[in-house]
């Protein structure tokens, strides 16, 4: 599994790789937290999550948008997710810790997850997500 930042002039573009789709969603959440807070949190709190889409890309868009919402409203910095993917629906729990300005101020606000440049491909046994966060 890996998370790398790709070049993008105005926004933040990330490439995430994982062996399974479920892990890809979890890693994508970690990538979002790295941008927002400098690093992902630790898994002390848990929360339920359930979102749907009509294809993989729209499901990823819905999942990351939900994490962004929960993070901001619940003051939660996520570490990882244990989710089950079925019929373009994600259900499960996400883990993380409460926002603490002393440790989580190394990031930048993310306004939203862009549909432009959002792609998920399966290559040589690995799922690869490219995603742009509007900052």
């Amino acid at each position: 599994m890996s998370i790398e930042e790709l070049e993008h002039t105005a926004d933040v573009r990330m490439r995430v790789r994982a062996p399974t789709l479920e892990e890809l969603f979890s890693e994508a959440g970690r990538a979002l937290m790295m941008v927002m807070y400098g690093s992902p949190g630790e898994g002390k709190r848990t929360m339920n999550v359930s979102v749907s889409g009509h294809d993989l890309e729209s499901l990823m868009h819905a999942f990351l948008s939900e994490l962004l919402f929960l993070s901001e409203v619940e003051g939660m910095v996520f570490s990882d997710a244990e989710v089950i993917l079925r019929n373009y629906t994600i259900e499960g729990t996400v883990k993380g810790e409460s926002f603490n300005p002393d440790v989580h101020s190394a990031g930048q606000g993310v306004k939203g997850i862009s549909f432009s440049g959002l792609s998920i491909v399966h290559e040589q046994g690995s799922y690869i997500l490219d995603v742009i966060f509007d900052v």
């Binding site: 300005p101 990031g107 432009s116």
Partner: protein, 477 residues
């Protein structure tokens, strides 16, 4: 320059129909040779993609601060007819009614003592950065008021004076606002964030007027050489972001429902008269109102701080103007030979109405509206005025800022936040931010020259330069 694009004037470039398949109108953008060197192919492609959208009229336009965004390019302007046209969140952006306002003070530069104390005072008064929480305790009904009434809600709550209201574009309120189309999620994000600056490129800056280019307009705008002014740049915070996210999903489905074929999913749209299109427009207008109220509250905190520290009476600090640079609005424009009502999308572009245009306060009827172009950190900002040339060529629009040229990854590799802070301090500019990281991201040199962008709109006549303001101290979100 890219293949297939032709130059039609010293600063004008045409993207012909056929540059990408399905274009309904040509594209047009404005650049000097120096700015053309940094033009991204992706941005021109996005400009061409906008030209494929149903009901687009005139041309798909981009201002000299054009750069690669998502959906529309940043700096993009497009108008759609009411009967065949569409509305798209990709033509507004996540930060609905991100905008700028300029507050003038009677204080002169040499009277600005205790600059450090002032910036610390303001940093405490205006919650800033990721996780910055409002000191306002809004009730559900108050939020409803913000969404419906915008600036005037804030003024009637005591966060300003009556004259502030007409000094905002559209008097700080889009009457099409439909709070019912704003989701609970958006409200949950909006409640704790009203009156907060946010992060990214948002800022509050103490500036000095250094040069006047148009004495008559400067007099009308109430600015003079050596004057201390304060610029506030922010938007609709999490509420607007969530409205964009929510409606993007709805409009993505609507795009398929109405059989609209698009080259980019972020251009998701729906006919202006469809239920989905109307719902987004109503929610967007409500978010725009929230943003105007937000900037009004932040300006109030600023006036209070200036009053406390320098004894300047609250009413002697005037709002010069407030402009929106991420918004879609119904306006009347001449298209071809006929005057028609259209839906103008401005994404990273500023309305620049000329003399005699509707919606201008009487003080500005003969000068055209003030246009406020914020500089990036450490670089000058500009005050301009709208022109009739803009009414004729760009649906009354001009640039909104400088436009990035260096990615955040490159910026961080090149220079640290601490180094930026120290080098600005050597120039006498104080930077206050929640973290040094936020400073590196927005360092000088990562943006195009705001002066060059402004020079181009001035030369083309899309707006005319009135004054240049230099930064003295800045709060970065």
């Amino acid at each position: 320059m890219l293949q297939g694009i032709s130059r039609i004037g010293p600063y004008e470039w045409e993207v012909p129909i056929g540059f990408v398949p399905g274009m309904r109108v040509p594209g047009r953008f404005f650049l000097s040779d120096a700015l053309a060197e940094d033009l991204e192919a992706g941005a021109v492609q996005q400009l061409a993609h906008v030209a494929t959208m149903p009901g687009i009229v005139g041309r798909s336009l981009a201002m000299p601060d054009i750069h690669w965004g998502y959906g529309f390019p940043i700096g993009g302007v497009a108008a759609f007819s009411l009967d065949e046209g569409v509305i798209s969140p990709g033509g507004v952006g996540f930060d609905i009614n991100c905008g700028v306002r300029l507050l003038s003070t009677p204080l002169k530069e040499d009277e600005l003592v205790k600059k450090r104390e002032l910036i610390e005072h303001l940093f405490k008064a205006v919650p800033t950065g990721v996780g910055g929480k409002s000191t306002l305790r809004l009730s559900g009904r108050s939020l409803e008021g913000m969404l419906l009434e915008g600036s005037s809600w804030a003024v009637h709550q005591g966060y300003g004076v009556d004259e502030d209201i007409i000094m905002c574009e559209q008097a700080g309120c889009m009457k099409e606002a439909d709070p019912a189309a704003v989701s609970q999620k958006a409200r949950q994000r909006g409640m704790p964030q009203s009156g907060t600056l946010g992060s990214g490129n948002h800022f509050l800056e103490i500036q000095a007027v250094r040069e006047i280019y148009d004495t008559e307009a400067a007099r009308a705008f109430g600015v003079f050489p050596g004057q201390i002014c304060i610029m506030i740049h922010c938007g609709s915070r999490g509420l607007g972001h969530q409205v964009c996210t929510d409606h993007l999903s709805i409009l993505e489905a609507a795009t398929r429902k109405y059989h609209i074929s698009l080259p980019d999913r972020q251009l998701a749209c729906a006919p202006l008269d469809s239920p989905e299109g109307k719902a987004y427009f109503g929610a967007m207008a409500a978010s725009a109102n929230y943003a105007w109220a937000n900037r009004q509250v932040i300006m109030h905190y600023t006036r209070k701080a200036m009053e406390e520290m320098y004894g300047i009476p609250y009413k002697e600090m005037h709002l010069v103007y407030d402009v929106a640079h991420n918004v879609a609005k119904f306006e009347e424009h001449v298209v071809g030979s006929s005057r028609m009502r259209v839906c103008v999308h401005r994404k990273g572009a500023t309305r620049a109405y000329g003399p005699g245009a509707p919606d201008l306060p009487s003080e500005y009827a003969s000068t055209g509206q003030p246009v406020i172009i914020p500089g990036s950190m450490g670089s000058p900002s500009f005050l301009l005025r709208g022109t009739s040339a803009a009414m004729d060529t760009t649906f009354g629009s001009t640039c909104h800022g400088a436009g990035r040229i260096m990615s955040r990854t490159q910026a961080k590799k090149r220079v640290s936040g601490k180094e930026v802070r120290e080098s600005l301090a050597q120039r006498g500019i104080i930077v206050r931010a929640p973290s040094d990281m936020a400073i590196a991201d927005e360092a000088p040199g990562v943006y195009k020259s705001s002066a060059e962008v402004v020079r181009v709109v001035h030369e083309v006549g899309l707006s005319r330069m009135v004054a240049r303001l230099e930064p003295l101290a800045v709060i970065k979100g």
